[in-house]
Amino acid sequence: MYKYDSFDETFVAERSRQFRGQVARRLSGELSEEQFRPLRLMNGVYLQLHAYMLRIAIPYGLLSSTQLRRLAHIARRYDRGYGHITTRQNIQFNWPRLADIPDILDALAEVEMHAVQTSGNCIRNVTADPFAGVAPDEIEDPRVWSEIIRQWSTLHPEFSFLPRKFKIAVTGAPRDRAAIALHDIGLRLRRGADGEIGFEVLVGGGQGRTPMLAKTIRDYVPARDLLSYLEAILHVYNQFGRRDNKYKARIKILVHEIGIDKMRDDVEAAWADMRRDELELAPTIVERIRAHFAPPAYLSDLPHTTPEIELQAKSNEAFAGWLRHNVHDHKQPGYAAVTVSLKPTGGIPGDITAEQMEAVADLADRYGFGELRATHEQNLVFADIPRRDLHDLWRALVAQGLATPNAGLITDIIACPGLDYCALANARSIPLAQQLSDRFADLKRQEDIGDLKIKISGCINACGHHHVGHIGILGVDKKGQELYQITLGGSADENASIGEIVGPGVAPDKVPDAVETIVGVYLARRNAGESFLDAYRRLGAAPFKEALYDRD
């Protein structure tokens, strides 16, 4: 992973010191709350329902065991002993004191971490495929480019007061595990006609009030022009994105209003006028960054399985289930990528305790070259586990409640913090996730249902990504009561789609039944081997609507 040099260390130290000064000036009254708010947001400090919330950046989800231990320390010392993995591969703490945050930032800087630009109207954390570097279908490691973009976008003086937040995602494989179509800029690594690495560039995706899929602005941008092209897009957005209405200020609205063709013309014109040579990514620059992501010292000739593992798999259904769902193919023979589930039955999706963090850090050191990833589906991934160690790893994860064998299944739910934590929310999402998790806990049943992504948002801001859930659930407030709107058929992958609303909102205690009904229709009408999403796309909404509403 990327290792800081003295330049990076100086930056985070200065940035932390700068924020300490800003906090002091806020407490002394030199800065009003209005003046302070954008400054604290640019350091990831929100004011939520109960307390401040600190969102710490995990660049493209990649963490070292040392960093995870430091996060555990922060959870214990400055918070209430747990953190929350977000849908943008970051981690949030829900109870820090403003007065302590400068100390927290210093503690983070010591392990090459920060909270820069995890909020505010600036370029946010660049997210990527959690299986970057190890996925067998990968064309090119997206982490290299995510890191390049991260550095370019860090405290960019021109782009720190954008009309609104700006999110970039990168996929390095044809299968999109980074949801690029739902980002302000989505980047798909590909090869050009000359075989050289470059990017398909998409613009104007996003969820929230007006979900939209990103559109291709350029089929192919050679790698050396990546930064200048991104800069041209941001340059146009900064000038022409709407600033009159917070809900119409994302780049997706600009693209929608002027059209992708005009957007392309404007960006190309801006790009033509730029001093592109100053932003050109010469191969030496790329190689310097790429060197940080060299594969670890894999052992060769490791076995795909062992007699012990085979035996355990036969005799222990829990282990066998975990092997089936949470263990994934790897480029390197004898290795696997492993999902560490943060979705225990009846648990809070994405939450992890300090004790669990430390256990995971130890396991990363013991089995996984000291690294792990946070995923935008609110789980963790060990990317490089020798397959011969899978049973030992599993037992250790079981002891920590991190071995739920549900990756990609119906109880692998994404949920935003919702009204239990978030000042923007209209309804709670976590209790619903817990109830659904309990309702569908039986593994055999989950396996029969197969791939089914439930995503829950507590308000229209859609931080739970409900628009792209196979089953999406949106919490609304109707006359002081919580109500849930259900959407079907959303998807965040390379065939992205926005879910369709199936009917009027459903009361909280009726939602698990509604999901049962939906699942029931699917099971009754699917073709052999057909996933929920494929069945929905084939059948349309009608049979589901009928089952849900006509019966009443």
């Binding site: 806020r26 407490l27 002394s28 009254g29 709350e33 004011l47 939520q48 329902l49 109960h50 307390a51 401040y52 209430r80 109870w95 820090p96 004191r97 403003l98 007065a99 809070i348 009204l419 239990d420 934590y421 929310a425 309804a427 709670r428 976590i430 209790p431 817990q434 407030d477 002081g480 919580e482």
Partner: protein, 104 residues
């Protein structure tokens, strides 16, 4: 007019606080000063602005409350109930819960 109280978040630590009769802001909603008419409500707002200017709180605002039998304010609606009592999904919740704040 529905009864109202003033609430805010404490600047230093973000804790939810309520304006009491003596002008102090505390985490216990039960002791909050209740406004029963427009003048009293205006007074609460003025104190909120003062506390903001004095850098004691951020984002002060008024909320509607119901009154219990002994006249103590009770939050209305999920949002303010959760602010008063903490998340519904943790065993450890806000300080008010320790005082038996009727948490769901």
């Amino acid at each position: 007019m529905t009864a109202k109280i003033a609430t805010a978040n404490r600047l230093l630590d973000g804790a939810v606080v309520y304006l009491g009769p003596d002008g102090d802001w505390s985490e216990a909603i039960g002791g909050a000063r209740v406004a029963r008419d427009a003048d009293q409500a205006a007074e609460l707002e003025a104190q909120g602005r003062e506390a903001l200017a004095a850098r004691h709180v951020v984002e002060p605002y008024l909320i509607d409350v119901a009154l219990s039998d002994d006249g103590r304010p009770v939050p209305i609606g999920w949002r303010e109930t959760i602010r008063a009592n903490g998340p519904t999904v943790l065993n450890q919740t806000g300080p008010s819960a320790a005082q038996g704040g009727g948490h769901v």
